[in-house]
Every structure is written in C-alpha cells, then in structure tokens.
Amino acid sequence: MKKQIIFFTSLVLLSILITLVLYSLFHSFYLVTQGSEKATEILTKASAYLFFLRLTGTLSLVFIGIAASLGALRNVIFSFYKNTSFWKIHTQWASSIGIGMATSHLTIYLLYEWRLRVPLTLKLFYPNFVHFNSTSNLVFLSTTALTIFTINFIISNIPALKAKSWWKPLHIVNYFAFFLVLYHALFLGSNSSEPLFQILYAVFLLLALSGAIHRFYIYVGKMKNKPPQAPIVQNSTPASTIVQSVPPIALPPVKSPSPTPPVNPTK
C-alpha cells in the first residue's frame, strides 16, 4: 500500500511537472505572438521552426523518458501493480510517440538550419573532439541515440528477433542512449537554464538511473546464486513473464452458480 501511494504521488507530480514545462514553452511562444516590442525583436523568420524544435524536443524527452523509466522500474511497479496493461505504455505508446517526436525534432532542426541558410552538410553532425560541448557533438550524440532507439523499437516488435539471445543486451543499450539524450538536452536545450526544465531532467535521470542500478544488482545477484552446471531455464518471475508485448489472456468469465437447486443424488 505504501509503495502504491509513493508511485501514484510520483506519477501525479511528474504529470504536473510535464504540464508546467509544456505551459512554459507555450507561454513563451504566446508572448512572442503578442507583438510587443520585445516580441518583435525575438520574432525572426525562423521562430516557428524554433518553437516546434523546442516542442518536439521536449516531448520526445518526456515520452522516451517515460518509456525508459517504466522499463527500468518495471520490477518495482509489478510488485504492487499487477495489471499488465500499463506495460503497453513502455512497449507501444510511449516509445512510438517518443520516436515520432524525436524524428520530427531532427527533421525540424534540419529545416531550421536550412531556413537560416546554414548549409546542410555533414558538418552539422561531425563529432568535434576539441570542443566537447559543441553543437555538432551534441547533435551527433542524439542522432546516435535515435538510431539505437529506432533499431531497438523495430527489433522489439518482431517476435522472431526478440527471441534471440542478443536481444536483451541490445535492449539495455537503450539506457545508455537515454543518458546521451539527457546530455544533449542539458547542454543544447534552449530552455535548459530554466529551473523547471532542470527539475525535469533531474527527475528522469533519477528514475532511469535508479532503475538501471536496481536491475543491475538483481542481475548480479542472479549471477552469484546461479549453480555452475544448472540447465538453462527461463526462471520467470511474474514480472519477467509479462515483460514484453504479450497481451494479457482474456479469461472466460467465471460462471456464476446455477440458480437451479442442486440435484439430489439420491434420486
């Protein structure tokens, strides 16, 4: 019960935080459209692209963050919330929307640069080993992360490939990609100096990191307790059996007791 309260309170707080972040984005855009003196100066010809660049970036972080956090904390959540339908948020909805937002974020970035007449060359993506926080580095890292997410997203939805032994290590690389995204957001996000956004980054970092560490310790514990010549058996806890995209089996409704009186056996 205590876990449930903590979980749902965190969920509500996270929702409020995401709402505030989005409100902040829209509010700044609203100010720009009001035509004040300051707004006129800010409103340059690429402002629409800039706004949608920020919006899609923030939303992709939010959705990918939700997917990553749910994946990392699944054992904790399954321990008190047995309904498997929420797992679809990780496997289907959050990841689909997150990848869609991230792809549009990348496309709008290219459109934005094109609008500002910056030549669209590979220089925009080159790693820069001198200045680590240069934009090309940060864009390179996020593009790498998007590639990892997309490959994982496609493979995870193909049952034949998901059954392979290399699927799990590949899927764990998603955490690494998520930390790359956080790094990208912190150093390249236009609003990352605002405390609201910093709190959002910190929350997602905390969720994903704590979940990843928790799962790592479980994995280490399993390895320690593993007998040397034990046969390979899928030791499935209730949580791990439900793990991916297996729809819950709809059980037939339990028959209510027959209203007819029981038959007398002596007859």
Partner: protein
Amino acid sequence: MQPQSPTIQPVSFFKKVFNGWLAKALILSFIICILMISFAVGGDLYYQSIFLQSKKSNPSSVLAPFVSPSPVIAQITEPRNPIQTTTLSAAPTITRAPNVSATNTLTPTPTHSVQATNTPTNPPQATNTNSPTPTQGQIAGCFVVVSGYLYNMQPAIGNNAIDPNTGKTHTHTTGDYHCGTQSNPTDMTSTYLEKHLAMGCAARLAPYIVTPPAPADPSCE
C-alpha cells in the same frame, strides 16, 4: 468422399513482420512526425506572411533580419566608417556582400546602458555614454545574445556555451554578452557571423558593434 484439407497460403516475411504492433507503431510515429513538421512549416509560412504585411505597411518597423543580407553588415563593412576600418587580428573578416546598399533603415532602441543614435538616412553615429572611446573588433570579441539564436547557431555553440567569467558551460539568455569568439576563431567564420547578424540580432547589435560593450561585463574589455 475424402474431406479436403484447407490450402495453406504461404505468408511472406513482410506480412509476418508487419502484422503485429510494429506496423501500427510505425504508422503512429510517422503520423506524429508528419503532423509536427506540417505545423512547423505552416507556422513558418504564416509568420512569413505577417512579416511581409508589416513590411509593406510600415517599412521602418521591420527589423534587419528580414532583409538579407542585413544592412547592418553594410554598416560594419562600410570603409568610410573610421571605426570599422581595422579589426583585431584574431577577429574574423567580414566581407561585404555585393549589391548591398549602405543605407540604414533601422531605428534601434537599445535597452541596455549603451545609447545609440541611428538615423535612417545617415551612417550610424553611435555614442556611448559609458565608455567614450570605441574599441575595435568588438563584433568578434563580444556581442549580445538577443533571442538565443547565437546559442543555437551551430558554429557558435562551442564558444557560446562557455561562460567567460566562470569558465563553466551555460546557456545564454536574452541580454547576455557573448565573449569567447577568439578562443575558437575557426568556428566563427565571417559567413556565420554574417548569418548571425542577418538573423534576429542585428537590430540589437547595432549599438554595440561600433561601441564597447556595456561595462556590466568586464570580461569583454
């Protein structure tokens, strides 16, 4: 009479793969992507039309970024302007674009402590009440971030992200001074500097490019 066994249709690999959630997920991602890009392009076209209207109705209110290349660049590179005849050695060279009129149509309204007098018909005559002697090469060493574009510009990020006072990385906000071009002069080429000026910063930069920056930022000296 023997019962006929149902014929098994061979299922292609494509159908097998795209039969499940993958197809739906990809379609969902694609729809989101198309929607967002359409909104961005539509918004851009919408604002473009607004700018064109305002430019027709009141040309003096239209800021430099909507004229490409910006007339401010012409001011900077105007050889008759004694302030701009020499530049610092580490500063990037700004080349004047051909067929650019040196006529200034801007009326900058600086909100910082630097005051500028800039009439539409004359070359910019900037006066600085804080520091009477204008310094050369200010445009390369120090300028103001107006709307975050300097931060967002790809080549400037390596510099812009470094706070000259603390040495730490930070995000510039409106009104920040950008110092540090000279720490990485290769990034700040004249092309990109021109682009910066041609974007939102030009009007605000106008007072600063011919005067030293406000004394609030001593690192820009």
